[in-house]
């Protein structure tokens, strides 16, 4: 709840700063907010049921076992590559991550999963990277990013003591 209030306060502060730059900038900010909302709402209204219904289908031991907080290095590796296979934008991946977290997946494993989704993104390589930038770029980029999801998961594991209520708060 406090997180929400902070976000709201920051949002209003930024909007205030945009308004101070002049009325046109403020109006542009509002127009972009509206466009974003119109674009995202339909996705969200379909993606949320998708996440909760898939959650009913995911066997409980996948989340808490394979990807659980105790799954260690194996869990991080599984999460990294599973993340790379998730297609689509944030409207697909984040509801899934929420579902996994609620089912008992470890936060560090989910950091690895999101990182895998964001930097490996096998579907994006095929749909965007190769057509726009060429296969060679995709190869260099993939080589450079291959270890990142695991690395991010390990960093998250190391940072976990700083976020003590994260494990308890997700249930």
């Amino acid at each position: 709840m406090t997180g929400r209030l902070i976000l709201a306060a920051l949002a209003l502060l930024c909007f205030g700063l945009a308004l101070r730059k002049g009325r046109p900038a403020g109006l542009r900010a509002l127009r972009e907010t509206r466009d974003n909302l119109v674009r995202i709402m339909p996705m969200m209204l379909v993606a949320m049921p998708m996440a909760t219904f898939l959650a009913e289908l995911v066997p409980a031991d996948v989340a808490s076992g394979w990807l659980g907080p105790e799954s260690g290095l194996t869990g991080l590796v599984v999460a990294s590559f599973a993340g790379g296979l998730i297609p689509g934008g944030p409207y697909a991946s984040f509801p899934l991550v929420l579902t996994f977290l609620k089912a008992g997946a470890g936060p560090a494993q989910m950091v690895a999963l999101i990182t895998g989704w964001a930097v490996l993104a096998f579907h994006r390589v095929v749909m965007w990277e190769i057509p726009v930038l060429g296969a060679r770029f995709a190869v260099v980029r993939t080589i450079s990013s291959l270890a990142l999801p695991l690395l991010a998961g390990l960093i998250a594991e190391a940072l976990m003591p700083l976020f003590p209520h994260l494990l308890a708060g997700m249930r």
């Binding site: 976000l7 219904f53 984040f94 950091v111 990182t115 060429g134």
Partner: protein
């Protein structure tokens, strides 16, 4: 009709997956599980909508305040780690989906950015883009998790850029955007 389907392909695909999931839950788990899942998604939508709206307002306002581009002259092959840091920051500041970000790679490299910097840029855009963090990650997964994720991801653009400068493969941007 076909053009309409193509424009909304993501939405159609999501709808199809959802529909299949609903049917499977009904058949495998029974009507109680269906009711439980519906309740869960209604709570989810109601719960995150206000934060999402605030995230969008913040992202829209920040875009009026932070200029991107124009920084490419500090991203050349001789730019060292400073170039990678600047490229990472530009990646974080770049909103929008792949249709915006991949052409931006061409813009940056056309303006003199080297492979390390454009890789830093694209990795940071994908992983730590502020727009996505504000609109999706904070509202849905909570500020604590979002902060843990952001901190864990922060060095990644830098590392990817550093590695790519050592990959023995030359890359030159294609002449023009494919139609």
């Amino acid at each position: 009709m076909l053009a309409l389907a193509r424009r909304h392909s993501t939405l159609l695909a999501l709808s199809a997956i959802t529909l299949v999931a609903v049917v499977l839950v009904r058949v495998l788990k029974g009507p109680d599980a269906v009711a439980h899942a519906w309740g869960g998604s209604v709570d989810l939508v109601i719960g995150i909508l206000p934060s999402m709206l605030m995230g969008m307002l913040m992202a829209g306002s920040l875009r009026q305040l932070v200029p991107t581009g124009a920084l490419a002259k500090w991203m050349g092959a001789e730019s060292g780690w400073k170039g990678l840091v600047i490229a990472s920051a530009v990646g974080i500041a770049t909103p929008g989906g792949p249709m915006a970000a991949f052409p931006m790679v061409l813009v940056l490299s056309g303006a003199g950015a080297d492979i390390g910097c454009v890789i830093s840029f694209i990795v940071c855009w994908g992983l730590n883009g502020f727009n996505r963090i504000l609109v999706w990650e904070v509202p849905l997964l909570g500020p604590d998790f979002a902060l843990l994720r952001f901190l864990s991801g922060l060095p990644m653009g830098f590392i990817a850029g550093w590695i790519s400068r050592r990959v023995p493969l030359r890359w030159a941007p294609p002449e023009s955007l494919p139609r």
